[in-house]
C-alpha cells in the first residue's frame, strides 16, 4: 500500500524545483554565470541570487510545507478530508490583521509591520476559537467555532474594503489578499521561518495521536491519547505555521487541501506518515506554482501566486474527487 520510494523521490523533486526557482527570473543570466558571479562577490549576480531569488525560494518551500503540513494535521484531527488550514480561522485571522495594517497605515510604519499584524490576527482568531469551543468540548464545536470566526474575519475584511479611503489603498489591500511571494527579502524569511519551524515541530509530533484517532475519539482515549492536549497542540502548531506563512505571503488557497489528498495513497491512509509527506508535497506544489508564475509572465503585472493556486487547484481538486469516487464505486 505504501510506496517506500515516495519520500526520496519527493525530496529529489523538491531539490530540482528549488534549483529551478533560484535560476529562473526576469534577468536573462545563465545559472553558471549567476552562481559563479554570486560566489565571487560580483554585486549584480549576488543581489539577484542572494537578495531576491533565495528568499523567494526559501519562502516558497517554507510556506508550501506549512500549508501542506497544517492541512494534513487538520484533516487528521477532524477526521475529514475536506479540512484545510482556513477552517479554524487561522488564515482568516492573518488576512484580517494584515488588511487592518494596510488600511490604518500601520503597515508602512516599519519594515515588518505587515507580517506582524497578520500574525497578531491569527493569534487573536485562534484565541477566540478556543474561548468559544473550550478545551474540553468535541470536534464539532471546534469546527463550528472556527467557521464562525472565519466568517467574522471575512465580514470584517469586507467592511475594511468598504470603508477604504482611496482606490490606491483598496488595490493595495486586494493585491495583498491575492497572495504572492514576489519581492520578499531575507527579513521576511527571518520573521516567518522560526515560527513555521516551531509550528511544524509541534505538528510533526502529533503523528501518534492522529493515528490513534483513526479509530474514533473513544478508542483513541482508551489507547492513552490525551485528546484535549492533542487538540491544543494541533491548533497552536497550525496557528504558528500558517499564521507566519500567510503573514508573509497573503492568502494562498488549495495547497493545504490538495497536498494531503495527493499524498494519502502514498501514506497508505496513515495520518502519521501523511504529515511529513504533505509538508514535502506542499513545498513542491507551491514552488512549482511560483515557478509557473515567473515562466508565464510576459508583460504587465505578474500573475499572483494565490490566483494561480486557486485557478489550477480547484479543477485539479475536482478531478481528484471524481477519480476517488470512481475508484470507490
Amino acid at each position: 500500500m505504501t510506496c517506500r520510494l515516495a519520500p526520496p523521490a519527493l525530496f529529489g523533486l523538491l531539490l530540482s524545483l528549488a534549483a529551478s526557482s533560484l535560476f529562473t527570473g526576469y534577468v536573462d543570466m545563465s545559472p553558471q554565470h549567476l552562481l559563479h558571479g554570486a560566489l565571487s562577490g560580483e554585486p549584480i549576480p549576488q543581489r539577484i541570487l542572494i537578495d531576491i531569488r533565495l528568499p523567494r525560494t526559501i519562502l516558497c518551500l517554507a510556506v508550501g510545507s506549512a500549508l501542506g503540513l497544517t492541512g494534513a494535521a487538520m484533516q487528521g484531527l477532524l477526521r475529514n478530508p475536506l479540512a484545510e488550514p482556513g477552517l479554524l480561522g487561522v488564515s482568516g485571522g492573518a488576512a484580517l490583521g494584515a488588511v487592518l495594517a494596510l488600511y490604518t497605515g500601520f503597515a508602512d510604519t516599519f519594515y515588518l509591520a505587515l507580517p506582524l499584524a497578520g500574525f497578531t490576527g491569527t493569534a487573536i482568531a485562534i484565541g477566540v476559537v478556543f474561548a468559544l469551543a473550550g478545551r474540553r468540548t468535541g470536534t464539532t464545536t471546534l469546527i463550528l467555532a472556527g467557521v464562525a470566526v472565519s466568517s467574522l474575519c471575512g465580514a470584517l475584511i469586507s467592511l475594511v474594503l468598504n470603508w477604504s479611503p482611496n482606490p490606491t489603498a483598496l488595490s493595495e489591500i486586494v493585491f495583498w489578499m491575492l497572495g504572492s511571494l514576489a519581492d520578499r527579502s531575507s527579513h521576511d524569511v527571518e520573521l516567518a521561518l522560526p515560527f513555521i519551524a516551531l509550528g511544524a515541530l509541534l505538528l510533526l509530533g502529533c503523528g501518534r495521536g492522529l493515528r490513534a484517532l483513526t479509530l474514533g475519539e473513544e478508542t483513541a482515549h482508551s489507547l492513552g491519547v490525551d485528546l484535549a492536549r492533542l487538540r491544543v497542540r494541533v491548533l497552536i502548531g497550525s496557528a504558528l505555521a500558517v499564521g507566519a506563512a500567510v503573514s508573509v505571503s497573503g492568502s494562498i488557497g488549495f495547497i493545504g487541501l490538495v497536498a494531503p489528498h495527493l499524498m494519502r495513497p502514498l501514506a497508505g491512509g496513515d495520518p502519521a506518515r501523511l504529515l511529513p509527506l504533505s509538508a514535502l508535497a506542499g513545498a513542491a506544489l507551491l514552488t512549482a506554482a511560483d515557478l509557473a508564475v515567473r515562466l508565464l509572465h510576459n508583460t504587465g503585472p505578474e500573475l499572483k501566486l494565490g490566483v494561480l493556486t486557486a485557478l489550477v487547484g480547484a479543477p485539479f481538486f475536482l478531478a481528484l474527487i471524481l477519480r476517488t469516487r470512481q475508484e470507490a464505486a
Binding site: 483513526t214 482508551s222 489507547l223 492513552g224 497508505g268 491512509g269
Partner: protein
Amino acid sequence: MTAIACSGLRIELRDRVLLDNIDFAVRRGELIGIVGANGAGKSTLFKALIGLLAPTAGQITLAGQALRTFAPERRARLLAYLAQGHVAHWPLSVRETVALGRLPHGPGDRNTAAIDDALEAADLSHLAGRNVLSLSGGERARTMLARALAVGPAVLLADEPLAALDPAHQLRIMALLRAQAGAGMAVGVVLHDLPLAARFCTRLVLLHEGRMLATGTPAEVLSDTMLTQAFGICAARFQLEGSELPLPWQLTPQAPQRRSTM
C-alpha cells in the same frame, strides 16, 4: 484476582443521573456480560470504567489501584476498550489497524508477535493486507477486536461487539472472548442477545435505569421477574447442554406501555 472494580459509582451529566450506586468487579478469567434495555447505562458504565467520564461519586480501581491515579499510557496497557460501531476513518490496512493496539507500549515497541497473535486469534491473517474500509461488517468487527487484543491487556471491555453481525460472526466473537477469559483475561461485554449471554458469560450484570437490578449467574439474572422488570418481556426457555437459555418471546401483557419514538 480482581482486575477492575467499581463501588458506589455515580455518574451525573448536566444534572441528570446516568448511573447510581453501581458495585461490581470483574476478576481475571471471567467473562461478564452487561445486559439491560437501551438507555439503561451500559455504555456509560464502560465509559466511566475507561476514564472517559469522571465519577460524581464512588471509586473505580484497576488492578487494585485507583483508576484516576494511572498515567494514560499505563492505564491503556492494562485496560483495552472495544468501542461501539467499529469506526475507522482512513484506509489503513488490517494489519496496521491491529497494530494501533501497540500504541500504548510506546514508539520503541517491537512486539510484532502480539500483532500476529491477535490477527491469528481473530482469523484475520489472510486479510492482513486488505484495506480496512473494504471489509465486510463481520470482518471489520473481528479486526477491531484483534486491535483490542493486540494491546495485550489484563482487562478487555467490549461495548456491543455483536451489533449488526450475522449468527456465525456472533458465535465466533463470543467464543473468542470466552477463550481470552479462559486464558486469564478479565472480560466485560455489553450484549443484547440474551441466549448468547446465558450461554457464554460466567456472570451477568443487569442494569435498569442507571441502577444495578441484579448480578449473578445467567440463570439468576435472567429470571422471569427480572426480564419483566428490566425489559417488559417474557421469555420462552429451553434447555441445552445443561444450561437454561431464555429466548425473548413476547412483551409482558401488564407491562407499562413503552412509547415508541418512531
